[in-house]
């Protein structure tokens, strides 16, 4: 695998994660528990889809086969997608959406901080841009996690359920394969597995403040690096891609 091929894969991972999570959050449009949160979740969605465009655009450049952002988003099947498994998990209730956001945003805060120092200028710039936005998303989801975890008996129960439902997808964040090793060697990518200790420390601290415990026994579901997904991704793609597949090449 060449550096260029590895960068292409790397951009897909980041771009696919933000696109799928952005699509998930957009499902809240018109369904938020209160107007302000409807606006918040869709604003976060907008940031994420914007980030996707930056990473897809760069992926298309390094691939150099004439594919466009739209081709990547609308004409790939689930096994070609490289998004983190966490991103495709269903919204559940508001608490579950918030907890999923907390987990991904806290991971991406560390990830983009490290990637900001990449010796690939484009990746570094995209990471710096995304980091500012992800920081804001993290503050928002952390505040809600604290409020719900320390809120009523019902809100705390729902947050505990969210932890049980989602924790198993966190190990998938830190896996590394040849793509990571090649790019780490070249000073382009980051040491992903090295983020795990800091992330766990941060997540555990904040969850504790919210009265939430990390499950003692939890098995890990992983495989996003190889395009192995949970059943949910196919359903999202079916909805997201239907218009483009019915009308190939449709534009606004």
């Amino acid at each position: 695998m060449t550096n260029q091929e590895a960068i292409f894969e790397y951009c897909l991972r980041i771009g696919d994660t933000s696109l799928i999570l952005g699509q998930r959050l957009a499902e809240w449009c018109g369904h938020g528990p209160i107007l302000e949160e409807d606006i918040a979740l869709t604003n976060i969605s907008l940031d994420l889809i914007g980030q996707t465009r930056g990473f897809y655009d760069y992926a298309c450049q390094v691939e150099n086969k004439g594919r466009t952002e739209d081709d990547l988003a609308f004409l790939r099947n689930d096994r070609d997608y490289r998004n983190l498994l966490m991103a495709e998990q269903p919204n559940g209730d508001f608490g579950q959406t918030i907890f999923r956001q907390f987990l991904i945003s806290s991971y991406y805060t560390l990830f983009f901080t490290a990637l900001s120092k990449s010796n690939d200028e484009t990746l570094a710039a995209l990471a710096q841009k995304s980091l500012k936005e992800v920081n804001y998303h993290l503050r928002h989801s952390t505040e809600w996690m604290l409020r719900l975890g320390n809120g009523t008996e019902e809100s705390a129960r729902r947050m505990r359920t969210a932890v049980e439902e989602l924790w198993m997808f966190t190990e998938d964040f830190f896996d590394m394969n040849d793509v990571d090793r090649i790019l780490l060697q070249a000073g382009i990518g980051i040491d992903n597995s090295a983020l795990r200790a800091d992330w766990l420390h941060f997540a555990q601290d904040k969850m504790k403040e919210a009265g939430l415990l990390i499950p003692e026994k939890s098995f890990a579901i992983r495989g996003s690096r190889e395009g192995k997904h949970t059943e949910h991704l196919g359903h999202i793609l079916a909805e997201m891609q239907s218009l483009h597949r019915a009308h190939p090449g449709a534009t606004w």
Binding site: E36, E37, I39, A40, N43, I44, S45, L46, D47, L48, I49, G50, Q51, R53, G54, E121, T122, A124, A125, L126, Q128, K129, S130, K132, E133, N135, Y136, R139, H140, E143
Partner: protein
């Protein structure tokens, strides 16, 4: 000669209002990063997005092309750049005053002030009555760059242009 043409282009660009906040120009907002002129007269305008998903970027690109075209620059390319990362620190004081008069509270701090790391920055003044007794209603607002506040003195709700 080339410098003079670039100056003219800058002037033209500073007449283009931001599509979402029409009281300030895309130059004042810091979106326009550079203007380049090649020997054959082709113009390249470098712009940077405020937020990654800002839906106004496409409108801004179109507006730049049509404004320059009207003034005889027929070969214009608009290029998106991400570095250096856009910050509200680039908005000059006069533009902040225009925002305030328009009813949007301008960014209250420099981003080097770490209090902005909180979702609830201190002392956002009401753009209408100037009171510092204000409360955030929502960290997210009508556009990606704003959050929602209300004034506890004059009771008016207002937009706050977030420090970013």
């Amino acid at each position: 000669m080339a410098d003079k043409i670039i100056d003219t282009i800058h002037q033209l660009l500073s007449t283009i209002p931001d599509p979402e906040i029409p009281v300030i120009s895309i130059v004042e907002l810091g979106i326009v990063r550079d203007v380049q002129l090649s020997d054959d007269g082709a113009v390249t305008v470098l712009i940077t997005p405020t937020y990654s998903g800002c839906p106004a970027m496409m409108a801004i690109e179109q507006e730049i092309k049509s404004t320059l075209h009207e003034h005889g620059f027929e070969n214009t390319t608009v290029k998106l750049v991400y570095s250096p990362v856009w910050t509200t620190d680039w908005i000059p004081d006069e533009a902040k005053e225009k925002l305030r008069k328009y009813g949007i509270a301008p960014p209250a701090h420099s981003t080097s002030d770490k209090s902005v790391l909180s979702l609830h920055p201190r002392s956002v003044a009401c753009p209408r009555c100037g009171s510092l007794k204000t409360t955030m209603i929502s960290p997210f607002g009508s556009t990606a760059c704003k959050s929602l506040y209300k004034c506890d003195t004059c009771l008016e709700p207002f937009d706050y242009f977030k420090c970013h």
